[in-house]
């Protein structure tokens, strides 16, 4: 009798196992696809050096000087970027007053006059000859003191591994009479901050 009960219960258990197995277990198959994603990069160099800021300082300038500086701005990243000058700071220093400056009417101890008398040209030199040629992008031509602190949105596209020459040219310091003398011994610095922003 007991044996029959045992066999009966075992049979129920086996049936439960079989039914349950069929109900809950599942076949499955998994396959994998490989994907590789790379984020682009933007990296601006100035004369092959990393950094975004360049300071031009001029001393011992005199009327008739036409100093010129060229920077090569490169995109060593992997995607195209638009170049802009995001900030410009002009520092004009007096460096004390000499007799000619005082005689010319300079009374300021802390503020130089070079930015009042010096003209500046800023341009992108596409053919790299250092001069303004047809097709070059001249985006400023005026007195240093009129440089906008907010810079210039040049919208100049630079491809990966591409670059552009940026030229700063000082000129035209001889037509302001006594003001010229007021600028003697003065020092002028202009700090440009460049920015490369992802092009749309």
């Amino acid at each position: 009798m007991n044996r029959k009960i045992l066999v009966g219960i075992l049979a129920i258990g086996l049936v439960a196992l079989a039914v349950g197995w069929g109900t809950y277990s599942q076949f499955s198959d998994t396959e994998t696809t490989e994907t590789i994603f790379s984020a682009g990069s933007l990296d601006l160099t100035i004369n092959d050096q990393n950094g975004q800021t360049v300071t031009f300082s001029w001393t011992n300038l005199r009327p008739g000087n036409q100093p010129k500086y060229k920077l090569t701005l490169k995109n060593i990243g992997t995607i195209r970027g638009n170049l802009s000058i995001s900030n410009i700071v002009v520092v004009s220093e007096e460096n004390g007053l000499t007799e000619p400056e005082i005689e010319a009417g300079d009374t300021s101890d802390d503020e130089g006059e070079l930015d009042d008398v010096l003209n500046l040209r800023l341009f992108l030199d596409y053919n790299g000859d250092g001069w303004i040629s047809q097709g070059d992008k001249v985006f400023f031509n005026g007195l240093v003191k009129n440089l906008p602190s907010t810079g210039f949105d040049l919208k100049e596209p630079i491809e990966p591994n591409g670059g552009v020459d940026f030229v700063v040219e000082l000129y035209d310091w001889w037509q302001y009479g006594n003001v010229d003398n007021q600028a003697q011994t003065d020092t002028l610095s202009i700090i440009f901050t460049f920015k490369l922003v992802q092009a749309p």
Binding site: I5, L6, I9, G13, F37
Partner: protein, 186 residues
């Protein structure tokens, strides 16, 4: 007394069988050449294309706001039983952090032209790393296929922290049988 022992033994055996049963239900069975209802059947799926679905040399670099890159992946039923898509998982290598900055959308395309795609996943690529259960709309019969539309993009809001990173993501797709399962997703 003996009768009590027999009953206890029988109940213990039944309990043991039920435990085995429950454990078995949590283990996916082998994928191929499984005995089902006394017949040897094959449960197998293949992906097409077999080459990497996304690759920078083909698709270029990702950057904030770039339009979505969309690819299509076909799941072909090369077995004898219908299947349904039931799970995605991904494993990562390289600059894993990039996976947090990428969005991925996976749609199961309908068979007919007018059939609305079924959204299976929309979230970060890294979100696939933990594995997610999904419920494919179509039961794909043998020799038929279903196509996934996979789009990847980098949102315009992300910043410089992802610049220059590269991540490899092996995206695993699991299909299950039975294709319809009473309220329980695979």
């Amino acid at each position: 007394m003996i009768r009590k022992k027999v009953i206890t033994l029988a109940l213990s055996t039944t309990l043991l069988l039920l435990i085995i049963n429950i454990l078995a239900s949590n283990q996916p069975s082998a994928s191929a050449c499984t005995i089902y209802l006394g017949k040897k059947v094959k449960f197998d799926m293949e992906l097409s294309p077999k080459v990497p679905l996304f690759h920078p040399e083909v698709d270029g670099y990702l950057y904030p706001g770039r339009p979505k890159i969309t690819k299509y992946l076909k799941l072909i039923n090369v077995g004898d039983l219908p299947f349904r898509i039931c799970r995605f998982n991904a494993s990562f290598s390289g600059d894993i952090y990039l996976a947090t900055g990428l969005q991925i959308e996976i749609l199961e395309l309908g068979k007919g032209r007018g059939e609305k795609p079924n959204l299976l996943y929309n979230g970060t690529l890294s979100g696939l790393g933990e594995g997610i259960n999904v419920y494919g709309k179509r039961a794909v019969p043998p020799k038929d296929s279903v196509t996934l539309q996979i789009s990847v993009w980098m949102p315009a809001t992300v910043g410089n922290e992802y610049q220059g990173l590269t991540v490899t993501a092996d995206i695993s797709i699991t299909v299950c049988f039975p294709p319809s399962h009473d309220g329980i997703k695979c």
